[in-house]
């Protein structure tokens, strides 16, 4: 059976060129970069080359890159570390309602420790409102954390505009702006200087790099308190032996992203647009979630009315197509995705959300296969849906059992 992977927001396939540069660091160059004998120096050099590659991708200085193990760790370090460093100046944090859980659950925890949190809402397409953000700011606001783009709905925020609004508000002279750019990594070009951010999270595993490596860009003058204490690694901002093979792979993935993202994006966007244009022609009562204009090139998210998302992606999987859903049944906590909820997507319709995220490896043939198979799956599930038969008979939407 065909195997079509369309869940690239959760993990991407490793680029073979990345694997090639990683390989020797498992078997030949296994020295600890903190050791000063020759094998250690090879690792240390590789670590610093990777740091330059990551920095170069986002137009930062190498000394502003802190390596961590994953995007979640980078977000934890950014939010907890910056709040701890600035707690003498204030205790107020502003985040958007659609952040990743590695930001939302961190601020929830900080709330228990006495910090105050304001959640800025989003509009129906997932855009953070500048006016609301400015309204949320206080004299004691120490951190604003707003994601660069959203993994689920693909909406890209105008971070440059939001940063300049916060900095020009003159609410105080110490508020730090962090952006979680994990979903944008490898999908678009980024320049921390143009964006104006103080801190930015990037992760290897969704940009054709290996799992186990991520970075936090931290502007030179921004203070942070380490959250993983140990040795003097990463200038004592993150203790623990460096995962050299993964970091080397991450560096290579950034180098490739810098050179090839624009060309790859043209191809990925063409396939994405084909799905977005064709699916509504083949299936009735489907609604695109997120913005059409400011959208990640690989993101397709539809709500399919009268069917449920987990059933959709299980039948897709049975046909060799791997996708995701924001429905309640598809989640471990049995709640509809907080992103769709924040966008005020109708709960019944949101149960039928299906998410395809494309990569540079997907082909037109694969997309054509999805366009052929997916409508059949929806038809099958609608034929057994009491909500659909009620709608066909009465023209009305059923909201509860009779």
């Amino acid at each position: 059976m065909k195997q079509i992977y369309l869940d690239n927001q959760s993990n991407t396939k490793l680029d073979e060129r990345v694997f090639s540069v990683m390989r020797p660091f498992f078997l030949e160059y296994y020295g600890n970069p903190q050791s000063i004998y020759s094998l250690g120096c090879v690792s240390k050099n590789a670590l610093e080359i990777a740091r330059k590659q990551v920095a170069s991708y986002i137009h930062a200085n190498a000394s502003e890159i802190i390596f961590t193990s994953c995007g979640t760790e980078s977000n934890n370090l950014a939010v907890k570390g910056i709040c701890e460093a600035l707690k003498s100046k204030g205790n107020h944090i502003v985040v958007s309602a659609i952040e990743h859980f590695s930001v939302l659950n961190v601020v929830k925890k900080l709330q228990k420790d006495g910090f105050e949190v304001t959640y800025v809402s989003v509009d129906g397409k997932g855009n953070v409102s500048e006016t609301e953000l400015l309204r949320a700011l206080r004299k004691n606001t120490i951190l604003v954390s707003i994601q660069h783009s959203n993994a689920e709905i693909g909406t890209i925020q105008d971070i440059k505009k939001l940063v300049s609004a916060v900095k020009n508000s003159k609410v105080n002279d110490f508020v730090v702006f962090h952006t979680d750019a994990v979903s944008s990594g490898g999908m678009m070009s980024m320049d921390v200087k143009k964006l104006g951010v103080d801190a930015l999270t990037l992760s290897s595993s969704v940009m054709y790099g290996p799992k186990g490596a991520a970075a936090l860009y931290l502007k030179k003058e921004i203070c942070i308190v380490s959250q993983m204490d140990g040795g003097a690694q990463e200038c004592s901002k993150r203790g623990g032996t460096e995962n050299i093979p993964a970091i080397v792979g991450f560096g290579k993935a950034c180098e490739i992203a810098k050179e090839e993202t624009i060309v790859n994006n043209r191809k990925v966007k063409k396939l994405r647009d084909k799905l977005i244009e064709e699916l509504p022609k083949r299936i009735e009562y489907v609604y695109l979630n997120g913005s059409l204009e400011n959208r990640l090139v690989g993101n397709v998210n539809f709500s399919i009315e009268f069917v449920e998302g987990e059933a959709l992606f299980l039948l897709l999987d049975a046909n060799g197509i791997m996708a995701a859903s924001g429905s309640a049944c598809a989640s471990k906590n049995l709640k509809m995705s907080h992103v769709l909820d924040a966008m005020k997507v109708n709960v019944v319709v949101g149960q039928g959300s299906i998410l395809f995220t494309l990569s540079k490896y997907n082909t037109e043939e694969e997309i054509n296969y999805v366009l052929d198979e997916f409508p059949k799956i929806v038809k099958k599930l609608r034929e057994m849906s009491p909500l659909y038969s009620y709608f066909i008979k009465t023209g009305k939407r059923k909201l509860s059992a009779s």
Binding site: F306, V307, E308, E310, A311, L314, L315, A318, S327, A328, C329, A330, K332, L334, M336, V347, V348, Q351, E383, M384, S385, P386, L387, Y388, S389, K398, L399, S400, A401, S402
Partner: protein
């Protein structure tokens, strides 16, 4: 290991007894689309036995598999026997369900019992 057992996947991908019965003797509906699951069961009863059963279900893989399984378990059995089948029995017959699915999606027996209740109410009204 897969998220669902093979039996669940079989009943989900090839559900038995899908449909509606136009002149049903009883209809039962449970669930709520807001929570993501809703089931409607239709039955025909002859000589106190379930002569025919059909269902329509909106919901996840577990909800559809549970509906299919109980429809198979009930067919041909007496109404009183069917009333004794619990949601738990259905989950067991499917080779188990993931813990988070046991409460929300495992409503097949409830829906069928509601259809039987509807049948009984109608019968009592006639006589």
């Amino acid at each position: 290991m897969a998220f669902y057992s093979e039996k669940v996947m079989d009943h989900f991908a090839n559900p038995r007894n899908i449909g509606e019965i136009k002149d049903a003797d009883g209809i039962g509906e449970v669930g709520n689309p807001v929570c993501g699951d809703m089931m409607t069961f239709y039955i025909k009863v002859k000589d106190n036995k379930i002569e025919d059963v059909k269902f329509k279900t909106f919901g996840c893989g577990a909800a559809i598999a549970v509906s299919s399984m109980i429809s198979e378990m009930a067919l041909g059995k007496t109404v009183d026997k069917v009333l004794k089948i619990t949601n738990n029995d259905v989950a067991k017959a499917l080779g188990g369900l993931p813990p988070n699915k046991l409460h929300c999606s495992n409503l097949g027996a409830d829906a069928l019992h509601k259809a039987i209740q509807d049948y009984k109410n109608k019968k009592n009204n006639i006589f």
